[in-house]
C-alpha cells in the first residue's frame, strides 16, 4: 500500500514517463532542444530508478496542468511552488527545496498515491542533489 488507481507506477517501470515541462530557468529549460535545469536532472535520476524513458512535452503551465488532469501526462515540472493556483488540478509532492516562503514542488497526476509517494521518497533522499544542481545552474 498504497496502490495507484490508474496504475501509473506499474506502467512507467521499464516504460515511458510522460513528462510535461514549462520553461522557467534555472529550474527548467528547453532552449537547446533538450530538457535542462535543476528539475530535469532530478527527473532523469528518478526515471533511471525505474529503468524508464522520459517523453517530454514542452508547453505552457496551463496547458500542462490540463494534460495532467486528463491523464495525458504523468508529471509536470517548471519551477512550480506549492502556492501554485493549479494545486486543485494536480497532486503536489512535498517541497524538495525551500527559499523563504517559496517551496518548490513537482506536480503529478491526482490520486496516483503510490506514484506520488515514490516521488516524495526520491525527493526526500535527493534534497542535497537538488541543492547542488541549483548552485551549478546559478
Amino acid at each position: 500500500m498504497p496502490y495507484d488507481p490508474e496504475g501509473t507506477l506499474y506502467r512507467v517501470q521499464r516504460g515511458v514517463i510522460r513528462a510535461g515541462i514549462s520553461i522557467n530557468p534555472p529550474w527548467t529549460d528547453f532552449s537547446n532542444g533538450k530538457a535542462e535545469g535543476v528539475e530535469p536532472q532530478l527527473l532523469n535520476k528518478f526515471a533511471k530508478q525505474f529503468n524508464a524513458r522520459i517523453e517530454w512535452t514542452v508547453d505552457s503551465e496551463s496547458n500542462l496542468f490540463r494534460g495532467l488532469k486528463h491523464r495525458q501526462l504523468d508529471v509536470i515540472i517548471g519551477g512550480i511552488t506549492n502556492s501554485t493556483p493549479w494545486s486543485k488540478q494536480a497532486a503536489l509532492t512535498r517541497p524538495y527545496l525551500t527559499f523563504g516562503s517559496e517551496e518548490h514542488v513537482i506536480a503529478v497526476s491526482q490520486g496516483e498515491n503510490r506514484w506520488l509517494l515514490e516521488f516524495d521518497r526520491f525527493l526526500q533522499s535527493h534534497g542535497m542533489d537538488a541543492m547542488r544542481y541549483f548552485e551549478e545552474e546559478k
Binding site: 496502490y3 509532492t93 490520486g111 498515491n113 506520488l116 521518497r121
Partner: protein, 323 residues
C-alpha cells in the same frame, strides 16, 4: 406576579447534573484534541474531511448542554415568569439545524466527488527521517477519534435518563455511534490505499448520511417539543404515563368527580393543568392547594401545576389524559 417554582432538580438529579457537566467538559477537551490530531492527517481524503467535520460538530452538543443547563436553572422573574427551561429546546434546535445543514452539504460534496470521478490524493509524510504514506497515520487518528468517545457516550447515557435531558441523550448516542463514522472513514482510507479511488467518496457519503439522519431526527423531535407535544420519555417515542398517573391520583380524591389533565415539556420539566369537576360545591381552597401539592410530589418532573375547578368537562377533548 406569580412565577413558576425556582428549583429545577431534586438532589439525585442535581448530582447527575454535576457528573454530566464534568463529563461534557472532558468531552470538549477530548474532541478538541481529536479535531487537532485529525487535522494533521487529513490529506485530501473526503472521508477523512467528513469524519473531521463530524468531530467538530460533536462539540456542539456538549457546549449546548453546558450553557443550557446553566441558564435553564435561572430563577423565573417578571420578564420570564415561566422560567428559562425552554432554552434547552431552543439550543437543541440550533444544534439539530447545524447537523442537518452540514450533513446535507457534506453529502452533496461526496456525491459531486463521486460523479466527477475525482481521485483523492494521499501523499507521503516525513517523520523520524523516513517518508511514509500518510494513510497509515490516519488509522490511529481514527481509532483515537472513536474509542474514548464510545466510553464517554456509555457514561452519559444513564445520566441523561435520570435528568430527562434530551440534549445529553442525543449527545451520548452520537458518541456511542462514533465508531461507525471512524470505521467508514477507515474503510475509505484503506480503499484509497488499495487503489479504489471511489471508496473515499462512498465512505464520505455514508458518514454524511449519518450526520444528516441525526440532524433530521433531532430537528423533528425538538420542533415537536417546542410545539408542546404531549411529554414523551427520553429514550422512546412512548407517551409519558405521568399525566395519566396524575389524573388517576386526582380522580381518587373523594371530592373530585372527574378530571382532565394536559401537560407540556419545558426542557427538563413538565408544566400542566388539571380541569376538575367537583362532587360538592363546598371545597376549600386548602383542599385544592393540597391536591396540587400532591400532584407535584408524584414526580420531580411535575414542576408547575395548576388545578382549575370547572362546571363540566369538555367531552370533545377526549385526547386529554383522564377521560
Amino acid at each position: 406576579m406569580k412565577t413558576s417554582p425556582a428549583f429545577e432538580f431534586p438532589p439525585e438529579q442535581d448530582e447527575a447534573l454535576h457528573r454530566a457537566r464534568r463529563l461534557e467538559w472532558v468531552s470538549i477537551i477530548y474532541l478538541i484534541s481529536v479535531a487537532a490530531v485529525m487535522y494533521f492527517v487529513l490529506g485530501s481524503s473526503q472521508a477523512m474531511k467528513t469524519a473531521w467535520i463530524d468531530d467538530i460538530l460533536s462539540l456542539i452538543a456538549p457546549i449546548v448542554f453546558l450553557t443550557a443547563t446553566r441558564i435553564a436553572i435561572w430563577e423565573p422573574d417578571e420578564r420570564f415568569p415561566y422560567g428559562y427551561h425552554r432554552i434547552v429546546s431552543i439550543a437543541f434546535l440550533c444544534a439539530a439545524l447545524a447537523l442537518t445543514v452540514m450533513g446535507g452539504w457534506l453529502l452533496s460534496s461526496a456525491l459531486i466527488q463521486l460523479f466527477k470521478a475525482e481521485h483523492p490524493t494521499i501523499g507521503g509524510i516525513y517523520l523520524f527521517g523516513y517518508t511514509f504514506w500518510l494513510g497509515w497515520l490516519m488509522i490511529p487518528a481514527l481509532i483515537y477519534s472513536a474509542v474514548p468517545a464510545m466510553f464517554l457516550g456509555r457514561a452519559k447515557l444513564p445520566l441523561a435518563r435520570k435528568m430527562h435531558d434530551k440534549v445529553l441523550f442525543a449527545d451520548a448516542n452520537m458518541n456511542k455511534a462514533d465508531w461507525l463514522t471512524a470505521l467508514a472513514a477507515l474503510i475509505g482510507v484503506l480503499g484509497i490505499g488499495l487503489g479504489y479511488w471511489w471508496a473515499d467518496a462512498v465512505a464520505s457519503a455514508l458518514i454524511s448520511l449519518d450526520i444528516l439522519h441525526d440532524g433530521i431526527r433531532h430537528l423533528r423531535e425538538v420542533v415537536c417539543d417546542l410545539m408542546h407535544e404531549a411529554p414523551r420519555t427520553v429514550e422512546s417515542s412512548d407517551i409519558d404515563p405521568l399525566p395519566g398517573q396524575i389524573a388517576a391520583y386526582l380522580r381518587d380524591l373523594p371530592w373530585i368527580e372527574d378530571v382532565q389533565v394536559r401537560m407540556r415539556e419545558e426542557g427538563h420539566v413538565y408544566f400542566g393543568e388539571a380541569f376538575v369537576v367537583l362532587r360538592n360545591k363546598n371545597v376549600l381552597p386548602d383542599q385544592l392547594g393540597q391536591a396540587t401539592q400532591g400532584c407535584i410530589s408524584l414526580d420531580w418532573r411535575v414542576h408547575d401545576f395548576v388545578l382549575v375547578p370547572v362546571p363540566s368537562l369538555d367531552v370533545q377533548n377526549s385526547f386529554v389524559s383522564g377521560t
